[in-house]
């Protein structure tokens, strides 16, 4: 590694110039909301460790209007992350069965099916 790596000067708004670039940047931006939601969950674990009162105030906070609006934005970006993540799975992990490549649509479809199953498990686990 060079100690003074060369950083090419670029226009900060390059991703606004084309739709394809914009969608790419939106996909990358999902990470901000995944991180923010992870922070919200971390706070939840801390409050849970502090006892029933702290936990109840946490539930009240995430159920408040600002809490719900924030999480709805996170939900939109998280779902976009899921869709874009599954879309590249045939390229990230190509599968060959008996010498034949598995069609990309089958790999993507399997991930969507798995998504549905895992989501159902989350709902059941949280609902019990």
């Amino acid at each position: 590694m060079s100690r003074r790596p060369y950083v090419r000067q670029i226009e900060r708004s390059w991703w606004l110039s084309r739709r394809r670039y914009f969608v790419y940047m939106m996909r990358e931006a999902t990470c901000l909301f995944i991180a923010l939601y992870s922070a919200l969950l971390t706070d939840g674990l801390l409050r849970l460790s502090q006892g029933p009162e702290a936990w109840d105030s946490y539930v009240a906070a995430i159920s408040s209007t600002p809490g719900v609006l924030f999480q709805l934005v996170c939900l939109g970006f998280a779902a976009f992350h899921s869709v874009t993540w599954f879309a590249v799975t045939p390229k990230a992990m190509p599968l060959v069965v008996k010498g034949e490549p598995v069609p990309p649509k089958a790999i993507i479809g399997a991930h969507f099916a798995l998504w549905a199953v895992v989501s159902l498990i989350v709902f059941i686990a949280a609902g019990i």
Binding site: Q9, R12, S38, A39, W55, I62, V68, Q71, S82, W115
Partner: protein, 112 residues
């Protein structure tokens, strides 16, 4: 050739990307929609019991730590895309915030 830290950073990125793709939307629907609407109830007793169980602890840590690491890595590459460079400052903010969340979660889970 200099040793690359890429595989160590990239493997949890991929695992975290998959974990958050599969689990995070459903989790947000629970905490951000079903609980606020009163369709689900996350009582202290239920959550504490789940977090008390060693497997429950691992699951909770997983759903926080893996997406957090994934996000940190993607944030770093996106910072590079935006011309913010790839210096130690960017690394510190990205991976540092993930480590902070991971360590706080571990601390909380050990206290439960």
């Amino acid at each position: 050739m200099a040793k690359s830290s890429k595989p160590i950073l990239w493997l949890p990125f991929a695992a975290g990307g998959m974990a958050s793709a599969l689990v995070t939307p459903a989790l947000i629907m629970v905490t951000g929609l079903l609980v606020p609407l009163g369709l689900m109830h996350l009582s202290y007793e239920k959550m504490a019991a789940f977090a008390h169980n060693p497997i429950g602890k691992l699951i909770l840590l997983g759903v926080v730590a893996l997406p957090a690491w994934h996000a940190a890595h993607r944030m770093r590459t996106t910072a590079h895309d935006l011309g913010l460079g790839a210096g130690p400052g960017v690394k510190l903010v990205c991976y540092g915030s993930a480590w902070l969340m991971i360590l706080l979660s571990v601390f909380a889970l050990l206290m439960i």
